[in-house]
């Protein structure tokens, strides 16, 4: 692990600090939540990588979406994502957030999560085991190094479109837009 390469730390402490102190916010969106407790307790111990679960999105920088996303839960996911401070990363488990997976034809499951909030990475497996989660985290490190994990930048720039998608799905949202949305350029196909 490149944790103790002093040169990397000196060059860019903020990015390195982000890599080695993920404060994770996850809540029981889907069936993958059962994989999280073993990953933070004795056998697999996520705290080795500095990963600690935190209660509020305000203190978090990694958002784990564990499993299929139903229409009701998506509202909570969007709200939580918007409440996280800026350099934030999202990782989704399994294939359900990608294209609806097994529930592709269910009337209340979102087929692709990427239309509503930016997702930085997916971990394959119909609920990946804790080892797979840690491998996913190491990949996220590489993405951060290469500045590829820019989900939050995309969300800020294309917020108009994300908001339009959300409003198209829900009609009228319960909270005002996060970033100012100019009415004129809101193009809905």
């Amino acid at each position: 692990m490149d944790r103790n390469q002093i040169s990397k730390w000196l060059k860019n402490p903020g990015k390195m600090a982000h890599k080695y102190s993920f404060h994770v916010v996850y809540f029981c969106t889907g069936c993958g939540i059962i994989e999280i407790p073993p990953s933070i307790t004795t056998r697999w111990d996520a705290e080795r990588f500095g990963i600690i679960p935190v209660a509020t999105p305000r203190q978090a920088n990694l958002f784990l979406i564990t499993g299929y996303v139903s229409t009701k839960t998506l509202k909570a996911i969007i709200r939580t994502y918007e409440q996280m401070p800026e350099p934030k990363y999202t990782v989704a488990f399994g294939s359900c957030p990608i294209n609806g997976g097994m529930y592709y034809d269910s009337y209340n499951t979102i087929t692709s999560l990427d239309k509503y909030i930016p997702v930085d990475g997916y971990i394959a497996g119909c609920m990946p085991r804790p080892e797979a989660v840690f491998i996913g985290v190491t990949h996220l490190w590489k993405l951060i190094d290469m500045d590829k994990a820019d989900g939050y930048k995309r969300y800020r720039e294309d917020y108009v479109h994300y908001r339009a998608n959300q409003e198209q799905l829900y009609g009228q949202m319960d909270w005002p837009p996060l970033f100012p949305v100019e009415k004129k350029e809101q193009a809905n196909l």
Binding site: A17, E47, P53, T56, Q59, Q83
Partner: protein
């Protein structure tokens, strides 16, 4: 009031405080039979929090956390860290009142964040503080009446002459009582009621984002340092160790070694406190108050009665 101490003691307190947080997470991990984060993990957490762009609920929300951190730093100036003390005006009474600034600041900003989780957390925090203040006041009064002074520096100097307070039979009972309430002062596991993560979404700091979270971590580290340092100063005689250092008195080495001994004693106290922390479930606020007002208060009261009778 020497200028050196003004700069050095807050730095020492900050660094050792953060190391203590890392150490406590490492020890709890080891007790849970897992590796646990590296000891310098809190430094990384603070750096990460500073690099995040947080939200604020107005100027008073910021004022609260700034007041809290400033109050705790000034509090550290009062602590004689192994012969190195910055301020002595007002003595232990001023210390007691400054101890209040930390939680008071966080209470102000937590409430300004208009989140009921933090309001509940604050009410629990103050109730817990009321609970452990009763024995703490009895203990401090016992020490003050025994040494018949209110200044902390004099207490440490007198202990250097007559040996550790905990060894003198009069003050061993308050020492035990202080040790019983140490987890409550530090907010360790059985008394982690204020920032209960599962129940009230980490209590008063529910709305603390990037830099606010960083400031809170620094304040928490300093508070842990102060909690243990007060115990070491009052009962374990600050920087002296059975007159070991009298031989090289007067040289600059004495100061450095005294500080080192002081930190060593603090690590020892932290260790014992942490063993309790890792295995206990969390008390409800009523249970915590009933416990703290039963045994520690009884012991501290007996200690004070003994000391009062002698003087």
């Amino acid at each position: 009031m020497n200028i050196v101490a003004l700069i050095v003691s807050p730095l020492i307190a900050l660094i050792t405080g953060l190391f203590f947080l890392g150490l406590s997470r490492k020890i709890s991990a080891r007790i849970h039979w897992r590796y646990g984060p590296p000891v310098y993990q809190p430094f990384i957490d603070v750096m990460r929090a500073f690099s995040q762009k947080s939200i604020t609920h107005g100027n008073f929300f910021d004022f609260g956390i700034i007041l809290s951190l400033t109050g705790t730093i000034v509090l550290v100036l009062f602590l004689p860290i192994g012969g190195l003390w910055a301020l002595n005006t007002g003595g232990l009474i001023m210390f007691l009142y400054l101890m209040l600034l930390g939680p008071f600041g966080i209470a102000l900003s937590g409430a300004a964040a208009a989140n009921p989780n933090s309001s509940i957390g604050i009410s629990r925090n103050f109730l817990l503080a009321l609970a452990y203040e009763v024995p703490l006041l009895l203990i401090l009064l016992a020490v003050m009446t025994d040494y018949n002074t209110i200044s902390l520096v004099e207490i440490v100097e007198k202990q250097a002459a007559t040996g550790m307070a905990i060894s003198s039979w009069r003050l061993v009972i308050p020492g035990i009582a202080y040790f019983l309430i140490l987890p409550a002062i530090l907010g360790l596991r059985p008394f982690e009621i204020t920032g209960a993560v599962q129940e009230i979404a980490s209590g008063p700091i529910a709305e603390f984002g990037g830099k606010h979270m960083a400031f809170y971590t620094l304040q928490h580290a300093l508070q842990t340092f102060v909690g243990i340092a007060l115990f070491v100063d009052i009962f374990l005689g600050g920087g002296t160790l059975f007159g070991l250092l009298n031989s090289l008195a007067g040289t600059v080495w004495v100061d450095i070694l005294e500080i080192f001994i002081f930190l060593l004693k603090m690590v020892l106290v932290l260790f014992i406190g942490l063993f309790v922390n890792a295995v206990y479930p969390r008390f409800r606020i009523e249970q915590a108050m009933q416990y703290l007002w039963k045994w520690p208060t009884l012991i501290a009261f007996v200690g004070l009665v003994i000391v009062a009778i002698i003087n």
